[in-house]
Symmetry: C3
């Protein structure tokens, strides 16, 4: 198992970095490229965006949609799979909108990541470096995201911050 | 004197890092562990949170409350003390709510830090990497925080950025 | 040509870093110091601030104002010029307020930077590390800024992140 946590801001190039790293890995090992997408198509604009992302990745990638049950989706993948989960903050947002217990879901994800035998890049937005939001839900969201990042960073083999398409290794 | 400025986003693990570093230092030197807390209990929720933090730290720590007079609190501590100030952004917020002159208070703090003969970790939120806030007070706050960080970073022996519980040495 | 992209949060010291680097370069090469300012004086407060910045820089600097046509301004400068463009995010904001096509303007800027034969420091605000803004225009702005940073970082000889007045080399 190789687990890399990829953190970055909006449009920092974090997804492109994770995909390129996974593609390089799959080229070496011959493993199957799997994108675990957490986005949900609430409207046609979002549906279009999801379809465009899928087209951009090309036919080498298998897409698994997991807006809520990320642990279950990962449990369904195997040792030969080269996986990108994109992105964790969208998943967290889906959990909160669906009134799920974030702590339990996070613990299940960490366990599933621990069990997973393939190679994994987990992409997440770093959202905690701005002004405290006025909105209570946004404050809770950034607290949950920060805690989740700490937990996952402890479990990760590598943690990379992406900024302006460039990488900074944190672990 | 050893002065470390610890910067990080919300729930980045900056306080835990500062406390662990101070505990390691105190274990070596036998110094007294002092937490200078800037939080103010405006309501019962906040009072509970402050009490919980105090319990979490355990009996090895002495707590000094200094919501406004941080320089005075630090002047009251000695060469054998191993001190964490947590956090600077809350102090800045207290100053602004109380209509104090931030520039004067900041200058007094920097002087006090310069006089202090013990070991000091000063924890602060990095808040300047998001979108410009709509709110004029929030804009002023992040400008003051940025200036304060620059001033303190110049005076510091070490500056560490904490992200996802991991550290990046800036100085 | 030497092109450095300087990223940083609000009041991080990014402008001071770029100016000091340019002044050191000009002292070596004898080149002319040119500040390409993107700020627009919409009101007297802003006009005052622009004038104060100009005074702060001192008489060694020539100031060129380029709120919109940054590529044109850069094309007007030569191989002996030591240039700071400050800042890119304000320019992006000006383009959006003026309903210009950002993609075209960005492509023109990148081409102009490629043609430029002097030394260039381009200063920009990193704005993508906070909570997703409520405001659609702010969301678009941070997306455009992120994409622009990636494009410029690819073209840059060096990319430096400034935090609390300290620098972290990303490229």
């Amino acid at each position: 198992m190789l687990f890399t946590l990829v953190l970055g801001g909006a449009r920092s190039g974090k997804s492109a970095f994770a995909q390129a790293a996974a593609e390089a890995r799959a080229a070496q090992t011959g493993g199957r490229l799997v994108m675990v997408a957490t986005a949900q198509a609430f409207d046609s604009e979002m549906a279009e965006r999801i379809a465009r992302h899928r087209d951009d990745r090309g036919s080498a990638w298998t897409t698994v949609e997991a807006p809520l049950d990320l642990a279950g989706a990962l449990d369904g993948l195997g040792a030969d799979d080269v996986v990108v989960i994109d992105c964790l903050t969208l998943w967290l947002s889906n959990l909160m909108l669906d009134d799920r217990d974030v702590l339990t879901a996070a613990a299940q994800l960490v366990e599933s990541v621990g069990r997973f035998e393939g190679a994994l890049w987990l992409v997440s937005n770093e959202v905690g470096l701005g002004i405290v939001p006025d909105n209570a839900l946004a404050r809770r969201f950034r607290d949950e995201a920060g805690r989740l990042h700490q937990t996952l960073a402890r479990a990760a083999d590598a943690v990379t911050l992406v900024m302006a398409g460039l990488t900074l290794r944190l672990k």
